[in-house]
């Protein structure tokens, strides 16, 4: 079974999960009765006859009078066509699609930077603490990762803000970019940068290095917070799987070959130890996206998470449900990538 057969099989497996995901989101958004949905589209001030006409028009538009599963298919058809409904939250109100186009890039930015940090920090530390087990470094690392694992994400964020932002004053800790430096840029119109809506990349495209560096500084703190929250569990998993691998026969055989201890660790042990970490990376991505909600609120970094919490405060059902669906899709895509990477690394899966 070569690689592409395996990938196709994974894709086919995605379909039931996808249907399940959309069904859950549909149930959640429709279980509280149709009037809640209508309240989304009709401003409370509208009353009397005008309200009736609008209600009637919306009912047949959304087929609200038909049985539940027919509604589901219509709703799903709407989603597939890209019309995800409407949301009104303090920071943004209008079509969900534009909200996504606006906020998604920022969240992806933080998540990707955080993932890179997790792998760059997590792997060497996990391997190091397993190799010289019970050394002082190992103990401090374990205590550090235990504490980080036990700390709620918002506490990590606040501690970082206090330490780095307030006390040392070297890193900005709120918003995406310093409004002063951006006000003059032509491509930055009331909070939205064009063409990619990510200020850092747009600044680079437009060659405004000052703004780019400022945007980058704003990016560091949220991603570091997110990374610290997840790196703790990764170090724990990597350390225990590394310890298990170091007891295996093939490591003893590698040592009996007389090759240097460093290559025994890097070539033989590390690759095998990473396998369970890769499979559990799907969970860390879930933690990442979950964490983004909190991190964006603390650093008021306008991403999907910030939009979700705003939607929660004003109980805007459209926002929350589309956010849940969006996060679900991102996670599913991430899990697919994780499976493919795993098949690449572990030959036993491929054939």
């Amino acid at each position: 079974m070569r690689l592409w057969v395996y990938i196709i099989r994974r894709l086919l497996l995605l379909i039931p999960t996808l249907i399940g995901l959309t069904f859950i989101v549909f149930i959640l958004s429709h279980v509280s009765g149709t009037n809640v949905i209508l309240s989304e589209y009709i401003s409370p001030k509208l009353t009397g006859a005008a309200r009736q006409i609008l209600v009637q028009q919306l009912t047949n538009q959304f087929h609200l009078n038909q049985p539940i599963y027919i509604q589901y298919f219509y709703w799903l058809w709407q989603i597939l066509q890209g019309n995800w409904g409407v949301t009104n939250t303090p920071i943004f109100s209008g079509q969900v699609n534009t909200a996504i186009a606006l906020f998604l890039p920022n969240t992806l930015m933080i998540s990707i930077v955080a993932s890179i940090l997790i792998w760059v920090i997590g792997v060497p530390l996990g391997v190091y603490s397993a190799v010289n087990r019970d050394s002082p470094a190992d103990h401090s690392l374990r205590i550090g990762s235990f504490t980080l694992y036990a700390m709620p994400i918002y506490l990590i964020g606040i501690v970082l803000i206090l330490l780095v932002g307030v006390y040392l004053k070297i890193l900005p800790f709120s918003g995406v970019v310093n409004p002063v430096s951006v006000s003059s840029a032509s491509w930055y119109v009331n909070g939205i940068s064009y063409p990619t809506h990510i200020i850092l990349i747009d600044a680079i495209i437009h060659g405004a290095w000052g703004i780019a560096s400022d945007a980058f500084l704003h990016l560091i703190l949220p991603s570091v917070t997110l990374a610290l929250a997840i790196v703790a569990s990764m170090i724990r998993i990597l350390r225990s799987s590394m310890l298990e691998v170091l007891d295996q026969d093939y490591i003893r055989l590698a040592r009996s070959k007389g090759i240097s201890e460093r290559s025994v660790i890097n070539l033989h042990a590390r690759k095998n130890a990473l396998l369970p970490v890769i499979t559990l990376f799907g969970y860390t991505v879930a933690g990442l996206l979950g964490g983004a909600v909190v991190v964006e609120t603390i650093f008021n970094y306008p991403g999907i998470g910030y939009w979700t919490t705003q939607a929660l405060l004003v109980s805007d059902i459209g926002g929350i449900m589309s956010a849940a669906l969006l996060f679900g899709l991102i996670l599913m895509f991430a899990n697919l990538i994780v499976d493919i990477v795993y098949a690449l690394v572990d030959p036993r899966i491929r054939y």
Binding site: S256, K257, G258, I259, S260, R348
Partner: protein
Amino acid sequence: MSYTLQVSDLNVQFYTRRGIYKALNGVDLSLKQGEIFGVAGESGCGKTTLGLTIMGLLPKNAAVTQGEVLLAGNRDLTACLRNAAPSEGEKFNIKQSEEAIKKLNRESCDIRGTKISMVFQDPMTSLNPVLQIGFQIAETIIAHQPRPLAERKIARTKVTHDDLGQIIKLLKEGADEQAINKYAESKNLHGIEDQVLSVWRRNDLGETKKEKIILSLHSEKLGSFEKLVLERVGSGKNIGGWMRIPGINRAAKNVLLKEGYIKATELLSMLEVPNPDKVVRMYPHELSGGMRQRIVIAIALANNPELVILDEPTSALDVTVQAQILELTRHLKHRFNTSFIFISHDLSVLSEVCDRIGIMYAGRIVEIAPIDAVFSRPLHPYTRMLTKAIPTIDGNEIQGIGGTVPDMRNVPIGCSFNPRCPDATEKCRSAKPSMVEVEEGHFVACFPKGD
């Protein structure tokens, strides 16, 4: 009489939470050149610990309290392990033992894999599941003998078509290895003879096919970077200097690795592995148990070591596959003139292959006998009862040994077999018998019946 290995009064102890296990209580052993020495014993007698101690692969909670292991007369392998062991009364310090093991690993890099190598019991777990077979073989060659590899490749670029024709003519006239070596030396094509001979010795190819392969060995083109690496390694210098930068270092290693794969193919064809060039690219999980054990043996013999320790190599294999491996071991013994230590719990397997057998009980060698003497005239009561307990296919009466294996935390004083020994005397319970040479080459650690 040159001994490849001398073990004198070796004592090893394991410190666990449930007490101190005395695994080895004074093992004496001297191994002649090119000999297969069998170590037989039941589980818990310390035979695997003996193999691991010689290789220096003991776990953290183990310590060599006494005795030494001398390789080829001078090199003491267990020095740093010994002085890490706690002296009498002092508590075992795991930190110290860990340091000692790290030091030992660094120091014995030039012995393990070249002078001594080891084959473990279960072929299913001995090979790294995520690395290719060729890589795992080439790795040990590159670690210890990068220079011959480089020379082989350079030789291939320098050799001309008629040189090869000349060598084939020599081979056809039945010239032996030295003659070919001399010829290669004269044309300073060092390294070509090794490749030609390994192709010539393959018995799964026809005469003409071999000639075709040998003749195709010439005029190999080299990239500039490859040339640089090979020159450097060929002249004996290791990959140092500016080549130490990670990116370049890996590329340099890959150059050698490609040649390592070719050498691995030759090794595997010598060990009768069918279509070796395909196997080199495969992963361990695609091969059967017997095939994997051959590959582990190939790894062990890659740098033709002086001593190979085989720890129960055939116990996890089927009878017919085991016969293949035992046949292979006999064949290798003549071919390589290395000495082997063959550890097994099954005396009949040892009788197939070994020249001398040492019977171990409770961490000591109680009898050393030439192979035919073990079954015909066993001297030590334990050996006598052991040979009687093995069922054979003509359905003889078998008789077990009373009692159980002694608890290694408090080994019985005097001769450790006395609780289960039928003719144990008062002397056996008090004094520890030393090895006595009853016949030529036949030693036993037991008081003669009389006193």
